[in-house]
């Protein structure tokens, strides 16, 4: 195997192509991309200087549903991401190498591209038992994460495990499962969901590549473009909610007619995600469309807000832009402690949404500061 080379130009040069060949290729590439001849120089510069961004994908306390979701991406398709957009140098799920050869892939990238690679993390990190609850290659998850995060240009937390701890962090959290933003001292892009929607995952990566920076984030470190609205506010069953028409038993007449699932425990009113818009599996469906209420799988601590089939208190008559706070507050007063805590975070995260025209995106580190206030 050839030694890694930095750029396409170097590759062409090594294969005996002239500078003229290279520029011809660039003008062809510019035209193919729908750009005018004036773009040739820019394309040449990019191909001369830019290699595919190296990406490391670490796996800790997880079920691999984030990886499984990712390979369902449809735009762009995952083969295009893997072969053309990025260089996925480490992922235990797909990479050919094993053992120390796999670890060498990771270590080489950390060394060679220090400060330039993108770090993706799937899974939470157990801090109990000196790290013995999750080891890879005899090293603790926390040890591996800290080392990899130190040199990363950007860090993405896939799913609820890496973002919030998820199922293993539910009470009594036997392993002290911890979200990654609490363990590393730099901003994290949280992409919650159990798992996140495949096309949202692809979009977050492409956003980094396309715009050269991360997407705008809310106070919980989530990309606003996907987590800025409640499932309830974008749900096609919303008119039934407003009209007071509900499913009241599984398999009843209302269920067959597609009425609102609020009475069956649907958490669409307290869940921020793109499910109702982007939908799942190439826009085939989303949970509510298939007859089950939203379980709120992209929310912090949603497992402890169960039971999932409990009928939430009804709040009617509020306009779309007010319901998040209103419903959050009502739940906080009326129901369980877990839900009350949830209402508080709902209000916190609502703040930047309300003033979204003036506020800059907040890095994840600020979340705790805001919570502390």
């Amino acid at each position: 195997m050839s030694e890694p080379r930095e750029t396409l130009w170097e590759t062409m040069k090594a294969k005996g192509h002239s500078r003229r060949d290279f520029l011809q290729f660039c003008s062809f590439a510019a035209a193919a991309a729908g750009l005018g001849p004036q773009a040739t120089a820019a394309v040449a510069e990019a191909l001369e200087k830019k290699s595919r961004p190296p990406v490391l994908w670490l796996h800790f306390q997880e079920c691999t549903c984030c990886s499984e979701s990712f390979i369902r991406a449809s735009h762009p398709v995952v083969a295009d991401i893997l072969l053309d957009a990025i260089s996925l140098d480490y992922t235990e799920t797909l990479q050919a190498a094993a053992g120390h050869q796999a670890e060498k892939c990771r270590d080489d990238t950390m060394k060679k591209y220090a400060g330039k690679y993108i770090l993706l993390v799937e899974g939470s990190v157990p801090t109990g038992a000196d790290g013995a609850y999750c080891c890879v290659g005899g090293r603790s998850a926390q040890d591996i994460l800290k080392e990899a995060a130190a040199g990363a240009a950007a860090v993405i937390a896939w799913g609820n495990c890496a973002s919030y701890g998820c199922v293993q962090a539910a009470k009594p959290n036997p392993t002290d499962a911890t979200p990654i933003h609490k363990l590393i001292g730099k901003p994290v892009i949280n992409v919650p969901g159990c798992p996140p929607i495949a096309d949202v995952m692809a979009a977050v990566i492409v956003h980094l590549l396309l715009f050269g920076r991360g997407p705008e984030l809310d106070a919980q470190g989530r990309p606003r473009e996907f987590y800025g609205r409640r499932v309830h506010d974008t749900c096609y069953r919303r008119p039934y909610y407003d009209a007071g028409m509900f499913v009241d038993a599984w398999d009843d007449e209302g269920a067959r007619k597609g009425y609102c699932l609020f009475h069956m425990g649907c958490r669409g009113p307290v869940t921020y995600n793109a499910c109702a818009v982007t939908k799942w599996n190439q826009s085939t469906s989303y949970p509510i469309q298939s007859g089950h209420g939203c379980i709120g799988c992209s929310e912090n601590g949603f497992w402890d807000a169960s039971p999932f089939y409990r009928h939430q208190p009804m709040v009617q008559g509020f306009a779309i832009e007010r319901t998040a706070d209103a419903i959050g507050a009502a739940l906080g007063v009326g129901v369980a402690v877990g839900v009350a805590a949830h209402a508080v975070t709902t209000n916190i995260r609502k703040r930047p949404v309300i003033s979204e025209t003036v506020k800059e995106s907040a890095p994840a580190g600020q979340v705790e500061e805001e919570e502390a206030k």
Binding site: T11, R52, Q61, D130, A132, A170, T284
Partner: protein, 572 residues
């Protein structure tokens, strides 16, 4: 000469697993398998609403997803005496089949193939010759020279970029790779095609369960509703979508996956005598056709085979406390009544007691406790679970669909029936199973359409939905088959909440440490006798481990006879 190798992590699996083994004179002499991650989901379930358990337990695995939810719903239904409506059974069967098709195909191409297929060798292939071979195997329309040339060109550009991404540091050029460049090109081309196709088949989960991974389930039936008069229900458009997905799936399995499997296998027939391991096989069975309560109606039958004796299939009862028990002699747990006894899962305990080395560590104490997995036994026998176990039980019970296909595969490869008990047999059984399941799936769909045509729309049994109707105490078991083997959940309900919940998953059967009597489980047993041509590149160990389709991340060590690590291999 004895050598000890460390492979950690073993990749192209789900989760975190470590195996330690001894290689002597180029052959594995002993091996130890260790799970290195624990989450404690059983502890988390205590005190929760039993109707929510499917959602928690589905998150045990994002690869198997749906089958955990199914086992959980069945456990609760068993405890509360609920029988689901026929349409719910059919929808569950359809989701089960969709899971198998996606999972087995992804396993073959994306998790297992690189053990047999040399990606770099395909760059030397003649696309026209590859096309000719592919066309001789099946009528798949993409098998033209232009398509193969385009794929080769794309990979060439990728390799020449110097950034090899997921293909970096593979064992390319290892002499254990035997495929001609053209067959490697076909396989890599279909690696990409399969990556695209697998996204489609899981849309069946999205249609009935709202999303994949982790589709939604419901105790008492399924959450989706049928109506031929409503846009908001599973209507004719949705059903047509399912029909076309099934049709495409059958074409992909029969024209791409199975022909590729046989083409690759024909170059590796020697693997029909390697990696057999245990001689006992266990299957809980699934795909009921007359209700889950009628085991004789299952298309995948239930049973146990001992000593490779296909003339006798033993009955299996998940409720019999003498049959299935979990041991912890070599696991990091503590039992209140003593660590030497096995516990039936209804009485199971999950108390962490880590006694291993503090990370970072070089090796585990394989003579003592060395895994987060417990060790399940059936009547104290170690059992292999998975596609091979299911196909052997079906074969031994005389299932005609399975017998016919197994016979055809043996004939095509020109190998004896004993070749089934091997690494090759395990991989072939998965292909046979995918093919029969694809056709059964069509049958379930046709039956569902028939029911709807006859006005049968029920999808949920309501009578025990309200906890107020539940007894003060109840217990149940839900059995199913994950793609990688026998899976069961046991639940005890007390005062309307979960009092105890225990899962025994396929990888616990296959990947567990040895028991107190020193009996090895599947991985450890199967590795014994595996040849290793080059201890620096133990691709042969990966072949056997991957043939089980492990559901946890693993690592392999090879020891000298004293158990001392003499060489930790650096793979360069």
């Amino acid at each position: 000469m004895n050598k000890r190798i460390v492979i950690d992590p073993v990749t192209r699996i789900e989760g975190h697993l470590r195996i330690e083994a001894v290689v002597e004179n180029g052959v594995v002499k002993d091996a130890y398998s260790a799970g290195t991650m624990v989450r404690g989901i059983e502890k988390i379930l205590k005190g929760r609403d039993p109707r929510d358990a499917w959602a928690f337990t589905e998150r045990v695995c994002g690869v198997c997803t749906t089958v955990h939810a199914l086992a959980s719903c069945r456990a609760v239904e068993d405890a509360l005496g609920i029988t689901v409506p026929k349409n719910a059974e059919l929808v569950r069967n359809l989701m089960f089949c969709a899971q198998y098709l996606q999972d087995h195909v992804v396993h073959f191409y994306h998790l297992h193939a690189l053990d047999w297929v040399d990606v770099v060798s395909m760059l030397k292939a003649d696309p026209a010759a590859a096309s000719k071979i592919a066309q001789s195997l099946s009528p798949w329309p993409k098998s033209n020279p232009g398509h193969f040339a385009a794929v080769q060109q794309r990979l060439r550009k990728y390799v020449e970029s110097g950034q090899l991404g997921i293909f970096a540091n593979g064992y390319w050029g290892h002499k254990a790779y035997k495929l001609p460049p053209e067959v490697n090109l076909i396989a890599v081309s279909h690696y990409l095609d399969a990556l695209e196709w697998q996204k489609d088949i899981v849309k069946i989960h999205a249609i009935f369960g709202g999303k994949n991974p982790h589709p939604n389930y419901l105790v008492g039936g399924v959450p989706c509703s049928f109506s031929t008069e409503e846009v908001g229900a599973i209507n004719t458009e949705r059903l047509n979508h399912v029909a076309s997905l099934i049709k495409d799936a059958i074409a992909f399995v029969e024209q791409v996956y199975v022909p590729d499997l046989l083409a690759v296998a024909s170059f590796y027939k020697d693997w029909g005598a390697i990696g057999g391991g245990l001689e006992n096989y266990l299957a809980y069975g699934d795909l009921p056709t007359r209700g889950y309560g009628d085991v004789s109606s299952f298309l995948l039958p239930r049973g146990a085979i001992l000593g490779r004796n296909l003339n006798e299939v033993h009955e299996v009862n998940g409720k019999n406390e003498e049959e299935i028990r979990e041991y912890i002699s070599h696991s990091w747990y503590r039992y209140a009544g003593g660590d030497d006894k096995g516990l039936h899962p209804w009485k199971g305990e999950t108390e962490f007691a880590y006694t291993g080395p503090k990370p970072p560590y070089e090796q585990l104490d394989v003579e003592g406790r060395y895994s987060w997995l417990k060790t399940p036994r059936w009547k104290d026998h170690p059992m292999e679970v998975g596609p091979l176990a299911r196909m052997l039980v079906a074969y031994a019970k005389g299932n005609t669909d399975v017998k016919e296909l197994v016979g055809a595969v043996l004939k095509k490869l020109d190998v004896p029936v004993t070749a089934l008990f091997s690494t090759l047999g395990r991989t072939a059984a998965r292909g046979v199973e995918t093919q029969v399941v694809a056709h059964w799936m069509k049958g379930f769909f046709d039956e569902l359409i028939g029911n709807i045509r006859n006005g049968e729309l029920r999808t949920h049994t309501r009578h025990a939905w309200d906890p107020a109707t539940w007894p003060a105490e109840a217990q149940g078991v839900g059995l199913t088959e994950a793609p990688r083997g026998a899976l069961a959940h046991w639940i005890r309900i007390k005062d309307k909440a979960i009092d105890n919940y225990q899962l025994v998953v396929p990888s616990t059967w296959n990947a567990s440490p040895r028991d107190g009597k020193g009996q090895r489980s599947s991985y450890e047993a199967a590795l014994i006798g595996t040849p290793v041509a080059n201890v620096d590149q133990p691709v042969e160990i990966l072949r056997t481990i991957h043939s089980f389709d492990p559901c946890l991340a693993c690592a392999v060590h090879l020891y000298d006879p004293d158990g001392r690590q003499i060489h930790q291999v650096q793979f360069n």
